[in-house]
Symmetry: C2
Subunit: 416 residues, 2 copies
Amino acid sequence: MIRHAPHSRASLAERDAKDPLGAFRDEFILPQGVIYLDGNSLGAMPKAAMARSQELVTQEWGQDLITSWNRHGWFDLPTRLGDKLARLIGAQEGEVLVTDSTGINLYKLLSMALDLRPGRKVILMEGSNFPTDNYMAQGLARQLGRGYEVRFAERDDMAAQITPEVAVVALTQVHYKTGVMFDMEALTQMAHKAGALICWDLCHSAGALPVDLGAANADFAVGCSYKFLNGGPGAPAFLYVAKCHQGKAMQPLSGWWSHAAPFAFERDYRPADDIHQILSGTQPILSLAVMECGLDMMLRADMNAIRQKSMALGDIFIGLMEALCQQYGFTLASSKNANERGSQVSFTHAQGYAIMQALIDLGVIGDFRAPDILRFGLTPLYTRYVDMWDAVQAIKTVMDQNLWQDPRYARRAQVT
Amino acid sequence: MIRHAPHSRASLAERDAKDPLGAFRDEFILPQGVIYLDGNSLGAMPKAAMARSQELVTQEWGQDLITSWNRHGWFDLPTRLGDKLARLIGAQEGEVLVTDSTGINLYKLLSMALDLRPGRKVILMEGSNFPTDNYMAQGLARQLGRGYEVRFAERDDMAAQITPEVAVVALTQVHYKTGVMFDMEALTQMAHKAGALICWDLCHSAGALPVDLGAANADFAVGCSYKFLNGGPGAPAFLYVAKCHQGKAMQPLSGWWSHAAPFAFERDYRPADDIHQILSGTQPILSLAVMECGLDMMLRADMNAIRQKSMALGDIFIGLMEALCQQYGFTLASSKNANERGSQVSFTHAQGYAIMQALIDLGVIGDFRAPDILRFGLTPLYTRYVDMWDAVQAIKTVMDQNLWQDPRYARRAQVT
């Protein structure tokens, strides 16, 4: 049975024409003939990144060489970009750094959290979280020994598991597979009530929806910049340490950038007493500096408009899938309630891997997450309403014509 | 007293004309009117890096987006570049990674070394080493507690300090200030004889002189790629783990790239049993991929020719300084014996900071290291013999004309 579609392509095109965020699409490079629904994995390229990378290489590295560390502010990039990013996640100046990778930043912050809660030995996490966070926490617990452990709970049981042994709760706000969201304020309150600290992973939140770490009274946060912040492939990640925790605990990856006087070349380590203490060593400047292009664009956009459009895109996508693809065995893995959903829509399907490969060959790029999840990222700065229509039509074509049965598509995923 | 100069500019120009490495200079961008003697801090830009960075941004990120992780081999960059770099440092395929930063790599390897020597609690290091290594080791010891400690010794006393409590000796082969070199083979033997492991920091060695980790039977090594390897500002660092130690000890920064099956998204950590285990998370692709340009060029050069020219450049520089600048109070801080010197020449001078600033304004770029060191890096792929003449003439001008007394130069260093 094919139900009547709840939208027409024309009505969606009309909506695009009136979209207050519509002009941002022109600030991105997007390949011809592609509907890119994977900005939740690697965000598209801001046009500004081309000029910026050329300037960085040709002028700053090529001509100004070592003097660029001061002249072009390379040394201050982690704090300067951190202060910009702070505005997107409800943090204050001096609470955010752009540096290193999400996992390494998590390691630093969890270590600090354990120091701040002596006697408590448990890091509480979601078992089905994107594994790298869990693996890093397990690495830390193993490193510390002495009874430290990572305890896994699932979403429905999380609140009950915040017991007096828990030193820190480390949760990803938006689930990487399903897009389902934790209530940041509620969980933070629960953690604090139990005497624990909390660390939020904002990988699928920053730039995707309004985040207010300050209002939630969050202790720590980490996240990446290459998804919704369009920072470029593997661009350095960010971290947040609430002012009240700065200078109170050491982090173990204490390289020279975290020293109270990095250029004094003292023999012994002496920590900075502010956010600089969470730095480690020299940063990959090309990747770090280019990351600013996506960030600057995001700061010009209205985050509430982004959220409204993101929810609308998801509702339309789900509605069209129900109307046009109901008979093909897709099961919605995201919440139907937009308020409980990040900026993605996911479906499960037993043939998910092959279907996604066939879809990519039709020019609709989403991604697959084992064992059976098809993910479609919604990035309001460059995703159009008509893209929802065209993407669902392509899915319908893949299923109607059994394109997914092509033997080429019968292999395992290898894409991040 | 001004002695007769041991060279003339003309004789040095003749030597440049016959230099078998001379053609490499054309493969670099070098600013007009500058003699760049700071390649031991930030290497000059290979021309190839311009095209590569443009291709990376415009095509790989801009057009091919998420598919580039496989299509353009982003995911394999750490191992693929590591295998190339291995050829420069006497390592085998599968023993080297290009990833993260020097300090973070050191943290991983020292942690493994301590695991491999249970019961021994001491990390032995050189007190006057570039501080970030020492600070990272102190961070690790603090993190572990239980009596772990970093013990500092100075160079002359190092061998005597390799006692039975020492788990791992961590030394930088070429000293960052003076350029003086440790005997890698001898120290490695001493460490092993005492039952300890050794980790070599090759920041000032890789690409500067022949290194043979295999012949020295070294256990571990780290190093950066933005100095003599011309990898770009803050380009990811490298690490080496001898095959015999792989799969025997865990490293704590165990992100998903180090998992035995990273794309299976298993809940619990399960280490890869090869060099992949030393990876952590997603890498900064722009910085990492551009790093290959300098590496490829270095692989085409004859490392013995590089070493011969480097030693000759140093001898000429020292000879000219003695002849032309003896009366100005410079003291040679490097060894006069080229065999004991890395690819730099350093002098101490009480007014070192101001002198270096004045010199930079004359177009001769070296750097200053507190409290009184002037460093001049010699990079045979783009440093000419005549540059030694012109640099010493500029130093003489700064001193003859008291240019260093300009009040502009009376401030503290801030350059890495």
